[in-house]
């Protein structure tokens, strides 16, 4: 059996940050105010206080305090609360990569998919966003309505995981 533990994390305020105009200028303003750049596609950046995960070409998922962001966006974008839509599921232990291959189509076993990387994919017919926290931890962002089913799916699959 491969080592992996599946835990649903408590609900958190999450926002979608979308930029609809002047992305370069917004990026400059953001870096100046936030101290780090808006992450590129497939990447995340920030700290526990404020973390951004690139979601779509023009959208970032924001975890943490968004109060400063409206000013930075000005008229070039908007924030929309989406936290209710998502259950964050923590997969911890060395086996998370193997577990994510079950029912999946994404190469989570690729060593390049490392800490700070993010990808959205489909696992057992459910759309899931993955965020690699560190070598032993990956967070999966699962639609609320499918979270029960996915946790069950992963728990069952974890019982019979072998490399």
């Amino acid at each position: 059996m491969t080592d992996v533990t599946i835990t649903a994390l408590p609900a958190a305020p999450l926002h979608a940050l979308e930029i609809w105009s002047n992305p370069a200028a917004v990026a400059t303003r953001f870096k100046k105010a936030g101290g780090f750049a808006l992450p590129a596609i497939g990447r995340s950046d920030g700290s526990d206080a404020l973390r951004l995960i690139r979601y779509e070409p023009t959208v970032w998922l924001v975890e943490g305090d968004v109060s400063a962001l409206s000013g930075i966006l000005a008229d070039d974008g908007a924030l929309t609360a989406i936290g209710g839509s998502v259950v964050r599921v923590q997969l911890s232990g060395k086996g998370w990569r193997t577990l994510l291959m079950e029912g999946g189509v994404f190469d989570a076993e690729n060593p390049n998919f490392a800490s700070g990387c993010s990808a959205a994919t489909i696992i057992d017919h459910v759309n899931v966003r993955l965020h690699v926290v560190d070598d032993d931890t990956c967070h999966a962002y699962v639609p609320l309505s499918y979270s029960e089913a996915m946790i069950h799916f992963w728990t069952t699959a974890a019982l019979s995981l072998t490399r």
């Binding site: 992305p23 596609i41 497939g42 070409p57 023009t58 489909i122």
Partner: protein, 87 residues
């Protein structure tokens, strides 16, 4: 199951994508009725390469135009579609 190279995410499984329509079936918002109906109902459907619109629905949700050979499934080009975005 095919594999497409998403302009944003790289090579990904077809299961993450949803087919929309061929590029010649796009009805622009200001299309005259006759033109709109032609786009919707009179299409080329070539045996060979055609331009298809796909969406990376279960990935980055972006739209793209994929030139696919309907006989061999060879993908000869992929082009991103959508608003201006940072890299």
């Amino acid at each position: 199951m095919m594999q497409f190279t998403c302009p944003h995410c790289g090579p990904r499984d077809q299961a993450e994508f949803i087919y929309e329509r061929t590029a010649d079936a796009v009805v622009s918002l200001d299309a005259a009725p006759e033109e709109a109906m032609k786009s919707l109902f009179t299409r080329n459907n070539p045996r060979g390469v055609d331009e298809e619109i796909w969406r990376h629905t279960y990935g980055c949700r972006a739209w793209m135009v994929i030139a696919r050979n309907r006989v061999t499934n060879e993908i000869s080009a992929t082009r991103a579609v959508g608003p201006e975005a940072l890299p």
